[in-house]
Symmetry: C2
Subunit: 160 residues, 2 copies
DNA sequence: TATGAAAGACATCATGT
DNA sequence: ACATGATGTCTTTCATA
């Protein structure tokens, strides 16, 4: 594990908020010479602490309404079919542009984060494209009414 | 709503993968003049299509094990207490560094994405810090075994 | 590992097609 | 939408401590 000092953490926090801050701006805000900031960032990237730089899309590009959907597959008579079916389910869901995240939990459960332009279109998508998938035991839908933390995951996960 | 053309989308996709690409690199990869790329990016930022630039943390900084936790609050005798209690719950969870995301669904449900160094520490955290919260009706824990899409949300949400 | 200075690369802007 | 060139800013490298 890599040990970070205060300067490393300060750089990371500032870059998380705005990765377009120049080295000279960082140097000014943190009262360190440009070459030091440059050296630290280079090391952080080399060590893999900073993985990569990316962009977040703005409000007008992202779904206005999201929901977390918990999907449970019916246990088939032949055990081995379950794993294959759940994998197939994950691939199917992953391909849908409305589906922001897909994860597997346990043998028979798939959890997805789903987005839509508004509440109606989101419900429509879930009813027509998820609840209709074959061989499901349960589908629990948790519409998100308000984020308390991590709201921006939607901006991050949205594709164009 | 803003209408994007193929060039806009191509720029966004490349910047999502690597926001440190220079205008000249983008210009080369997309076979368009630098001035055009520069102009497009400027417009995309002005229009709010690109919200901001950020960094993702690497594997060694992020929790190795995550879980989605669905928390239902007990309905109190006095209706009005429920909203206050759920809001309090959200604030409490949001302050925990292990908690990557918190969202409210309906009147009595809070959903969180929680991370830990490994399965044992994650379970410990959930058992000691979440299941022990007062006035809960149910806590469903869905440990994530595998991501099918959106895996990087963990890199995005992790703080230092 | 930290720093200062210098060289080279880059973004930005204005102007014109 | 694209081309070009002028300008100032930023990154990167290297020598030194």
């Amino acid at each position: 594990m890599t040990q970070l000092d205060d300067l490393d953490r300060a750089i990371i926090r500032l870059l998380k908020r705005n990765a377009r801050l120049t080295i000279s701006e960082l140097s000014e805000q943190l009262n360190k010479p440009e070459s030091t900031i440059h050296f630290r960032i280079k090391k952080l990237i080399e060590k893999g602490v900073i993985d990569r730089y990316t962009i977040l899309l703005g409000e007008e590009m992202i779904p206005k309404k999201t929901a977390i959907v918990v999907i449970q597959a019916e246990t088939p008579i032949i055990e081995d079919f379950l794993e294959r079916y759940v994998n197939h389910l994950m691939r199917t869901l992953s391909m849908m542009p409305n589906v922001l995240m897909v994860a597997k939990s346990g043998k028979d459960t798939v959890i997805a984060i789903v987005g839509g332009e508004n509440e109606e279109k989101l419900d429509e998508f879930i009813n027509e494209n998820i609840k209709t998938l074959p061989t499901l035991k349960n589908v629990y839908v948790y519409p998100i009414d308000k984020f308390g933390k991590g709201k921006e995951l939607v901006n991050f996960l949205t594709e164009v």
